[in-house]
Symmetry: C2
Subunit: 326 residues, 2 copies
């Protein structure tokens, strides 16, 4: 397999944590990797990993569009080019999410027939496989036809990533009835309910779902526009953080703290964003994994593993087939 190109300069803890994660991915899971970034920063850290030189770094808060257009020698743009030019099999970045999307979109292009790429984010579900939520923020405004493609692509991702043979796809709304919701949801519902809409993705439309269904085993893929999806994702992240913090505080003052917190460790691991392996930008013509900004080395290992798995599963080809009918 061609190496996975890792943007060594992106993320709150770059480059140290990113490079450490890349090295661990190479050793622990045997995935070939190549670092992309400033040689002078990476040489002291890289060990025997190779470096694709890139002299610029797009800041975490930089404007995505203009920075990708003007910073042609940035690590993000060079990582995307490595995939485009067949020097890497996939790209991974914990950097500026908007700039990661823009780099991938501009350098890899879209899969033929895809109207808009979408960010597919796995939401952990205790005791079950994660629910794939998309679009988690790529497109603040959407058209119904785009959401149908998100459903098709999300189903492919659910199957290849979590082994769900016939993913159950729900449309996020504010009631189960097809008549509930805003115009986008009502129109999308009709399109998804039409015969054959998800046939090429081997998926099943289960109708509208509500926010409370996302973190349950009742649905495998939840489709929504990027505004609503991003709000839902961040609301859940904030709620989880608030509750986990309160649970730890509540237990840590007791004399059973060690035993109690130990018993919750598996749950904590399930919810740990470093364990999910990152989100995938579905619809660009290549594998692009978006890891969260605060990624640790472990997050990079998991993101690299997912990138490698998605390459080996041929997910881009499957996406191409699934949307070909659109």
């Amino acid at each position: 397999m061609l190496p996975v190109a890792i943007d060594a300069m992106g993320g709150d803890h770059a480059p140290a944590a990113i490079v450490e994660g890349a090295r661990r991915a190479a050793v622990e899971i045997g995935v070939p990797v190549v670092l992309v970034g400033r040689p002078e920063d990476l040489d002291p850290l890289r060990g025997d990993l190779e470096v694709v030189a890139a002299s610029q770094v797009i800041g975490m808060d930089a404007d995505p569009g203009s920075s990708v257009r003007t910073m042609k020698d940035s690590s993000l743009v060079r990582a995307a080019e490595a995939v485009r030019d067949g020097r890497a099999s996939a790209m991974v970045s914990a950097g500026n999410t908007g700039a990661t999307m823009a780099s991938a979109l501009l350098r890899l292009g879209r899969i033929k027939g895809v109207a808009r790429p979408a960010i597919a984010t796995p939401i952990p579900v205790p005791g079950s496989t994660p629910t794939v939520l998309l679009d988690a923020g790529a497109n603040a405004e959407c058209q119904p036809q785009w959401l149908v493609q998100f459903a098709q692509m999300g189903a492919i991702f659910s199957r290849e990533r979590y082994g769900i043979a016939e993913p159950r796809v729900g449309l996020l709304s504010i009631g189960e009835e097809p008549t509930k919701g805003n115009p986008l949801v009502k129109e999308t519902h009709a399109l998804l309910a039409a015969a054959g809409a998800l046939d090429r993705a081997s998926a099943r439309f289960v109708g509208n779902v509500e926010g409370r269904d996302i973190m349950t085993p009742e649905v495998d893929v939840v489709v929504t526009d990027g505004f609503t999806g991003n709000v839902a994702l961040k609301t859940l992240e904030g709620g989880m953080r608030s509750l986990v913090t309160a649970v730890i505080e509540g237990l840590s003052t007791t004399d059973v703290a060690d035993a109690a917190l130990g018993a919750l460790l598996p749950l904590y691991t399930t919810l740990d964003p470093d364990q999910t392996g990152g989100a995938m930008l579905l619809g660009v013509d290549g594998v692009c994994i978006i890891s969260h900004g605060s990624s640790s080395a472990t997050a990079v290992v998991n993101a690299t593993r997912v990138a490698s798995e998605m390459v080996q599963a041929g997910v881009v080809e499957h996406l191409r087939s699934a949307v070909a009918s659109a």
Copy 2:
């Protein structure tokens, strides 16, 4: 004070749990109450509480608009009429939310100048006062001017309900920058940022907030359209339920279960929807408290207490003043 009219027929556990809650509210917190519903169902339960007779019951899943129009002798419609006619000070229902809104809107009417009423739902924040989220589902589609009124009304509710002198109002979006979000958010941001927008509500606009801010002490009121608000609310409810269940399961198999779960009891109480006292429909010309469908007797006690407090605080008059400039 005039009695609080309690829809005795609405809710998953009606009428028994509702009547029990009403009786406890009368005894424990000294709020005068009157039950609304079918005398034959209520007579065996009501003790010395009075009953406003209503022969019909709007089902939890009934279509709100048509049921309120056709079921003129329903407990919900009669409860709203009791407020309108000056026989009750407020209404409380754990029944069909849409029908509660429709009854209140049709019988009480809107406060002069209010474009659309909104559901204001308190979101518990561990260690702090709840955040008021609105609109939590009354209006799936909104205009920017309506959201400005939601901000004004939510601030009044936050002040009267939680004693926040100068509530911090955030606009729910997918990034802090005013340029992020969908067109509704961008237009609303400009209106809320304009000088004087929240002056009559004695509130302060703190700009865009993200989903992760809702359950933190950083903001007192979060404004959004009813689609996004309902998704955020239910996503949070589902996530909390999932996590609380997993925590209880994780701890209950240990030999420190009693001590650990006991230490988490205050947190559990904070998050218990029966404790929040329900949501308030802001913008109708009267106090209308919407309790969740699975309300227990304790939930009814708390909803009745909140109804009484909102009446005594003169919240409808404050709302009238706050939106008068719109």
